[in-house]
Symmetry: C2
Subunit: 187 residues, 2 copies
DNA sequence: AGATCCATGTAACACGTTACATGATTAG
DNA sequence: CTAATCATGTAACGTGTTACATGGATCT
């Protein structure tokens, strides 16, 4: 990752995080892993170079800060120019639906070459993971509604969570249906 | 794409395509764009180098073939070793759920900084695209059930289509719900 | 003494797209 | 003659991960 030239969403993700209280690369990573993980993820290898890019673009400023009981950190702040850029990006229309690359579906597509037992195992395994994910989303939703309802951004967090809940539930239902189609035709 | 070293799914996608009647890079691309596009996509810039990799690995063989009324083509055939590799891959468990990077959700997450009208526009736009995608899936499903039911792979094609239908419907419902939450609370 | 959290950063690699280049054949 | 379809391929670029490197502070 030597050069970053074109505008990309990663930049705006970090810009957005600056507006909701994340001011270091480390805290951004934590927020992403904790609350955006069902629709976005970023590694440190991307965060730190992108923070540099924000500085270069004049979208953010940085300040070295000593802390008590913790290592020093670099505190980033969004600039007026950065806020403008964020708003411009927010107003831009979404041109394409996201495409997920789904390994399970790829395997199912070719599973004529596989014994049904193995296919069944894949489906069970997948469904378990989906259920676990669903339960995580439910727990987060519960936490937001009970303890963070005063937070200004809370309604928007719930909206993105609802997306995760609905699509995950649909996938779980599909697993159930597929198992029936493949293994319980005799009903 | 100078070097390809590790095993990756792309290789197995092409191997799978070889087993369902696609024998050239061109026909593989067509099949992917037409029937796998809701869970997988590949560009020519990836297909041709990967076909070379299949040869290097001994998973496929190639033969130059002159055609009548069409340009020459390279006809690929899967080897026994390739079939074994495909089966090994099919049997391997799926370790991780796919993560979609969703630009709309990213924008919604930060949309406190945006006027509601613009957010509404994003949602409408997104929902239209989803509906259009849903209708495409329905049309393909109709075609498979009426005209390709004899095809040996047809049941598995329908399964992957059902996944697309269910998750897309869930996303459409979420759009509807979100619009209500944000704009018709008085309802 | 060791684990864990806080905190920053880079180099090598992997993966994928886009734009470009080429050219045959067929249909209008 | 020109557009579309069939067909193959590469170079440059963009984007992202992983592994590595470093080190302070706190907790057990």
């Amino acid at each position: 990752m030597v050069f970053i030239t074109r505008e990309n969403n990663t930049q705006y993700a970090l810009l957005g995080l600056l507006t909701i209280g994340c001011d270091t690369g480390y805290s951004m990573k934590q927020m992403i892993d904790g609350s955006l993980n069902h629709f976005w993820k970023i590694s440190y290898g991307q965060i730190y170079p992108t923070l540099k890019l924000l500085l270069d673009n004049g979208y953010a400023e940085v300040q070295d800060l000593a802390q008590e009981g913790k290592p020093d950190k670099k505190e980033y702040k969004i600039t007026d120019e950065g806020t403008e850029a964020l708003k411009r990006w927010l107003a831009q229309p979404i041109t394409e639906l996201p495409l997920e690359k789904n390994e399970l579906l790829l395997k199912l597509f070719f599973s004529r070459h596989q014994d049904l037992e193995s296919t069944h195992h894949h489906l069970e395994n997948y469904q378990e993971k989906l259920v676990s994910r669903y339960e995580t989303y439910e727990a987060i939703k519960e936490m937001i509604t009970t303890r963070l309802s005063a937070e200004e951004d809370a309604p928007f967090w719930l909206i993105t969570l609802n997306y995760g809940l609905r699509t995950t539930q649909a996938a779980i239902d599909w697993c159930e249906e597929t198992k029936e189609v493949l293994f319980h035709k005799e009903g």
